[in-house]
Amino acid sequence: MIGRVTRTTLAAVACAALGAVLLAQERPMQLDDTKVPKGRPAPRMANGKPDFSGYWKGTTQTRPGGNIGKDLPGWKLPLTPAGEAALKHNLTATVDPEAVCIIGGTPRHNASGLPFEVLQGANKIVFMYWYSYFRLVPFTAGLKHSDDPDPSFFGEEIGRWEGDTLVIDSIGFKDEKVWIDENANPHSDALHVVERWTRPDYNHIHVDTLIEDPKFYTRSFTYARTWALGEPDEQIQEYSCSENNVDAAHLGFGPGPIRADGTRGYDNPAPLPPPVPKK
């Protein structure tokens, strides 16, 4: 009996210690998709449609992250001369809009490394992003775009179901203070985005994206991505972007160097000074 109590107590102490350690750990913002279970059917709404609700994290298999040209050979975007000029402008005369608390918009949020959360209702779906932004997409049958939508960062979004696929068609975008991805690539007010969202299984959500912008791109191109489900207790949390944006005054134009692998950052950073020896 004493041995059983001792073992139980030890187990409880071990669990408490493990819990404390887990609480002190920062959970990864991305998951290794090879370790994410597959095959469990996607949950469904009362109307039989798949339910996309959940806290979704990017995977380490999405490379290069943050680059809307991810699926193009050499990540080379088909820029028109006007698009080339717009890219040059973004690189040499604009700071990252998100860094000064401007909404990233569509399709940039789909190229972000940050997780997002989805809540789905019978006729609307809400995508919630870190930085306290959200997009609310109606998918009531028969919705049509307006003749002259007000320009916005997410555009005028119309949802519709095609079987188990939620199609979101967006037009009416702003053309200033917008980057189409983390690497400062441009888009114009002629942008047209068609997202086709599916939930292939319980632990995954996927989007196939068609991007058209005849002002800045010579042809349409596609961007596909899969996210994996986070833990049940994970959710978007408070993030007041403009509370104390000291860094805004120190940011250079553009995203800084782009690595050979297509991501933003330095290829060969200097090492930090050696760690301080333990006392």
Binding site: A24, Q25, E26, R27, P28, M29, Q30, G58, T60, T62, G65, G66, V95, D96, E98, A99, C101, S112, G113, L114, Y131, E182, Q237, E238, Y239, S240, C241, E243, N244, N245, V246, D247, H250, L251, G252, G254, P255, G256, P257, T263, R264, G265, Y266, N268, P269, A270, P271, L272, P273, P275, V276, K278, K279
Partner: protein
């Protein structure tokens, strides 16, 4: 060695290799300018989108220079165990990181050594900075 490995793992976990942060590390900091600043903690701003703490450092001429140390968002730091309560005014901190590209006395505080030897990861999660 164990704590150094844990630190490396924590940085890798935080950075993740995918652009995710409020802004790119490379838009603000120079990865060729790794520096160490040792100074007295005089101010803490536990705020979004970044936390800042300020240390007073004596330069070569004996004059006090104030350095701003930028770190991740409060929530990210807290979840990795870097709590606001660990920063006590008057403490001597050793801060390793990278200097701002514009030459200001501002650094990205990627590694913070507290007076008791604890090492905290200050990096902004997923900013594309050095891992």
């Amino acid at each position: 060695m164990k704590s150094h490995l844990a630190l490396a793992a924590a940085i890798a976990l935080a950075a993740g290799g995918h652009a995710a942060a409020h802004h790119s590390f490379a838009a603000e900091f120079d990865a060729t300018k790794a520096i160490r600043v040792t100074g007295t903690l005089v101010k803490v701003e536990w705020t979004n989108p970044h936390t800042y703490f300020y240390v007073d450092v004596k330069d070569d001429k004996g004059e006090v220079v104030r350095w701003a140390c930028e770190s991740g968002a409060p929530g990210a730091l807290s979840r990795r165990g870097f709590k606001r309560s660990l920063l006590k005014l008057g403490d001597t901190l050793i801060v390793d990181g990278y200097r701002a590209k514009n030459g200001a006395n501002l650094m990205d505080a990627r590694r913070v050594t507290l007076p008791d030897g604890q090492v905290m990861v200050g990096a902004s999660a997923g900013d594309g900075g050095p891992q």
